[in-house]
C-alpha cells in the first residue's frame, strides 16, 4: 500500500506516516481555485496557484531535479503556503533535498519502506546554502570566524 509521509510539526521538524488520502488532483488545464492542483515538472508556475487547496508535483524519475526547482519557485517566488506534495517517483534518498525545497508531504510507493524513508528526511544538522526552509545561508546565520 502506498503511504503518505507528512510533516506534523513544522517548527520541531516532526514527520509521521499516514495512510494515503486521495485528493481529487486536477491538472493545470482543468483546475479551479480552491481545489487540489497537480503539476508536471516541466510546467510553469503561476501566481494564481497560491489559491490551490494543495499542490502535488509529479516526479517522472527520482533523478529528475526539475520538480525541485518548481517547488522552490512556488514557495519562494509565489509564496504558496499550502501543502506541497511530491508524487510519482519519490525516492527516500531524495527526501532531504525535497524538504529543503519546500515539500511537506510525500506519497511513497508500495515498493518503498516508510521507516527507511522517515530516517532519510534530515541526515544533516545544517547546510551551507540558503533553502526554502532556511532562507538565510550559513554565512548569515552562523558565526564562522576564522578557525572558529
Amino acid at each position: 500500500m502506498p503511504v503518505l509521509i507528512k510533516q506534523t510539526n513544522q517548527t520541531q521538524g516532526e514527520w509521521s506516516v499516514a495512510p494515503l488520502d486521495q485528493p481529487k488532483w486536477q491538472s493545470s488545464d482543468t483546475w479551479s481555485k480552491g481545489t487540489p492542483l497537480i503539476l508536471q515538472v516541466d510546467e510553469e508556475p503561476a501566481s494564481e496557484y497560491v489559491e490551490a487547496s494543495a499542490i502535488a508535483i509529479e516526479f517522472p524519475a527520482f533523478i529528475d531535479g526539475r520538480g525541485l526547482s518548481l517547488a522552490v519557485l512556488l514557495r519562494s517566488r509565489f509564496d504558496f503556503t499550502g501543502e506541497l506534495r511530491a508524487v510519482g517517483a519519490v525516492h527516500e534518498d531524495i527526501l532531504h533535498y525535497m524538504v529543503r525545497c519546500g515539500f511537506d508531504s510525500f506519497e511513497l510507493g508500495d515498493d518503498r519502506d516508510a521507516d527507511i524513508a522517515l530516517a532519510q528526511i534530515a541526515p544533516y544538522s545544517d547546510h551551507y546554502q540558503a533553502s526554502v526552509v532556511n532562507p538565510e545561508p550559513a554565512f548569515r546565520r552562523v558565526n564562522r570566524g576564522h578557525n572558529a
Binding site: 529528475d64 531535479g65 518548481l70 533535498y97 541526515p123 545544517d126 546554502q129 548569515r140 564562522r144
Partner: protein, 555 residues
C-alpha cells in the same frame, strides 16, 4: 589554505555517516543497483572495467603536505600503492573495495577532505589556475571565491540532480591556465578601473561530443552578486536543459538552442528575483574567506639571479629543468616549480605512495606545506626559494619526478582510457607511452618548443583532446581501436579564449599513430619561421599541408 571550522567538520562527518548508511543499505539489498549508482556517483565512486574507481576531490587543486600524506596512506592501505592525478585536479584510486569506501572517506575527513560531488549529474569540484596565489601574472587570487562556490554548491537542495554534470572553472591571471572557456561556467576575475574585484562570466563551454567555446554572459559582475548570478544560471539550466538524451543534456546545448542572447534574457529574468537577496555575499564572508588565503610569510631573500645562473652553467640538466619546469613567482626570490609525472613507461598522472610522501616532504620543507595538482596532471610546489631549487631538483630526480619536460611533447595529458575506464572506446595510456618512447630525445623535444599532446579514449574528452595542439581521440571502428587526430587546438592563454582543434581526416590504427605524429612534426619543422611555435605555425599555414603529408600515398 582553507581550514575547516566546526561547521565544515560537522557537515563532512555527517556526509560520511550518510554515505556509510547508504552503502550498508545497498549491501543489505535495500537499494537496487541503479538506485545506489546515483548515490555512489555523488560521492565519487564509479564502477569501472576492473574495479570501482574512487575520485577524491582536491578543491581547486590545492593540498597541504598532511593531506597528500593521507592520500599516500590511502593508496597503500586501500589501493595498490598508487593514485592518479586527474585532468580536473583531483586524485583517483583505481582499486578500492566498494565496502571499504566509507572507511576511506572517514580517513579523508580526518584531513579535511572528501569525495563529495566528484561525479554524477551535479556541480563538480571547482577547478582553477594551479599557480593561484603564486603566479606573477595574477591580478586576483581566486581561491577564496572557489571556496565560496564549493561551499555553496555542496549538497545544494535544488541543483544536485541536474540534466548532466556541471563544471565550473575560475581564473584570475592573464594566462588562462584553468581553460575557463571550455567549462559549463567559466569565471574570469579581474580588477575594474576602481581597483574593485569583478567577474566576467562565460557559460556553455565544454569538450565532449559537442565541443564548444563558452560565451560571455556578463562582464564586470561585482563580488557580492557571484552566488545569486550563478544560482540564476543553474535554475535556468535545471529547468530547461534537455533530459531526454544524455548527449544533448549539457548546458552548452541549451545555450545554443536559446541562443546566447536568449539564454542571457532567461538568466536576467531569473536573477532579477534573486539579486541582492539573502544569498548576496556579505563583506564579512568575503573577508573571512580571504583570510584563509593570506599569502605565506615570504622571507626577504637576497637576489639569487647570478648564483642561479652559475648553478645552471655547472649543471646543464638542471638548467633545462629550470627553463621548462620553473615559473616566475610574484614574491622576489621565489619560484613556482612543476614536478612532472610524465615519465616514459608510467601512465601520465600516476604517482606512487612513496612519491606522494616525497612531494609532501618537499612542500613542507620548501613551500610552507602547500602544493597543487595541475590539470596537466603534474604536481606543483608553489612557493620555492630560488636558492633551494637545485636541492629540490636533486631530490625530485632521485624520486623519478625530475623530468624537464613541462609543456614539451612528452608532457602528455591523457585520460585512463580503455585500460581502466568502462566508457572508453580505445586505450589511451599505451598511445601516450609509445609517443613518449618514440620522441624521447630531449634535443628533439626542445627543438619542437611547447607542444601539447592531449589524448582521450572516447568522446567524453577527459584527456581534453579538443584543446591539444595535437589532439588524439580513441574511436571504435567495428570493434577495433582507431585514433582520430586533430590539430591547432588550445585551451586559452594570454587573454585569448580556447580554440578547438580541427580534425585532419580519417582515423588511424594504433600502430600508425607515431608515424602520423612524426609527419606532423616534419611539416611543422619544414614550415616554421625561426622560433615559431607549433600553434602559430599551424595558424599561419593551416591544416592543408599537414593533411597532404599525412595522407600522401606512399607509392
Amino acid at each position: 589554505m582553507y581550514q575547516y571550522d566546526k561547521f565544515d567538520h560537522t557537515f563532512v562527518a555527517e556526509r560520511v555517516a550518510h554515505y556509510r548508511a547508504q552503502t550498508l543499505r545497498y549491501l543489505d539489498g535495500k537499494l537496487s543497483e541503479d538506485e545506489f549508482l546515483q548515490l555512489r556517483l555523488r560521492n565519487g565512486l564509479y564502477v569501472q572495467r576492473l574495479a570501482p574507481m574512487l575520485r577524491v576531490a582536491v578543491p581547486y587543486g590545492t593540498l597541504s603536505s598532511d593531506q597528500l600524506r593521507m592520500l599516500a596512506a590511502i593508496a597503500r592501505k586501500y589501493d595498490r600503492g598508487y593514485g592518479h592525478l586527474s585532468t580536473r585536479q583531483n586524485m583517483q584510486y583505481n582499486w578500492p573495495e566498494l565496502a571499504e569506501v566509507p572507511d576511506i572517506l572517514e580517513d579523508l575527513a580526518s584531513v579535511e577532505m572528501h569525495a563529495i560531488q566528484t561525479s554524477g549529474n551535479c556541480i563538480r569540484n571547482v577547478t582553477t589556475d594551479e599557480f593561484s596565489g603564486a603566479a606573477l601574472d595574477e591580478s586576483v587570487d581566486v581561491r577564496p571565491y572557489c571556496e565560496i562556490l564549493r561551499q555553496w554548491s555542496t549538497s545544494h537542495p535544488e541543483f544536485d540532480w541536474l540534466p548532466r554534470k556541471f563544471k565550473i572553472a575560475v581564473t584570475g591571471a592573464t594566462e588562462d591556465r584553468a581553460a575557463i572557456t571550455v567549462h559549463d561556467i567559466g569565471i574570469r576575475a579581474h580588477r575594474d578601473d576602481q581597483d574593485q574585484i569583478v567577474f566576467d562570466i562565460f557559460v556553455g563551454g565544454g569538450l565532449g561530443r559537442t565541443p564548444v567555446v563558452g560565451v560571455l554572459m556578463i562582464s564586470g559582475l561585482p563580488v557580492e552578486h557571484l552566488l545569486t548570478y550563478v544560482e540564476a544560471i543553474m535554475r535556468v539550466y535545471n529547468r530547461f536543459g534537455r533530459r531526454d538524451n544524455k548527449y544533448r543534456a549539457r548546458i552548452k546545448i541549451l545555450v545554443r538552442a536559446l541562443t546566447a542572447d536568449g539564454f542571457r534574457d532567461r538568466i536576467d529574468e531569473e536573477w532579477m528575483h534573486l539579486k541582492s537577496g539573502p544569498s548576496t555575499l556579505t563583506q564579512d564572508e568575503v573577508d573571512r574567506m580571504r583570510l584563509h588565503f593570506t599569502p605565506p610569510k615570504f622571507d626577504t631573500l637576497p637576489d639569487f639571479t647570478d648564483a642561479l645562473a652559475q648553478q645552471r652553467l655547472a649543471e646543464p640538466e638542471f638548467s633545462r629543468w629550470v627553463k621548462h619546469n620553473v615559473t616566475p613567482h610574484k614574491a622576489p626570490g621565489y619560484a613556482v616549480v612543476t614536478l612532472s609525472t610524465k615519465v616514459t613507461g608510467i601512465p601520465p598522472g600516476d604517482v606512487s605512495d612513496e612519491q606522494m610522501d616525497c612531494v609532501a616532504d618537499w612542500a613542507e620543507a620548501w613551500s610552507f606545506s602547500e602544493l597543487r595538482i595541475s590539470h596537466e596532471q603534474n604536481f606543483v610546489i608553489p612557493h620555492v626559494a630560488q636558492n633551494k631549487l637545485l636541492e629540490l631538483w636533486g631530490a625530485a630526480r632521485a624520486a623519478g619526478m625530475g623530468a624537464s619536460n613541462k609543456g614539451l611533447l612528452t608532457d602528455i595529458i591523457c585520460c585512463p582510457g580503455g585500460d581502466y575506464c568502462s566508457l572508453a572506446n580505445a586505450k589511451s595510456i599505451p598511445v601516450a607511452e609509445s609517443i613518449q618512447r618514440r620522441f624521447d630525445d630531449y634535443d628533439y623535444q626542445h627543438d619542437l618548443h611547447e607542444l601539447d599532446i592531449n589524448i582521450s579514449g572516447c568522446m567524453n574528452a577527459c584527456g581534453h583532446h579538443h584543446v591539444g595542439h595535437i589532439g588524439i581521440l580513441g574511436v571504435d571502428k567495428k570493434g577495433a581501436e582507431f585514433y582520430q587526430i586533430s590539430l591547432g587546438g588550445h585551451s586559452g592563454h594570454s587573454g585569448i579564449g580556447a580554440t578547438l582543434g580541427q580534425i585532419v581526416g580519417p582515423s588511424f590504427a594504433r600502430r600508425d599513430v607515431n608515424d602520423v605524429i612524426n609527419k606532423i612534426f616534419d611539416v611543422y619543422l619544414a614550415n616554421r619561421t625561426q622560433e615559431e611555435h607549433f600553434l602559430n605555425c599551424f595558424k599561419r599555414i593551416g591544416l592543408e599541408p599537414f593533411k597532404e603529408s599525412i595522407y600522401a600515398s606512399s607509392d
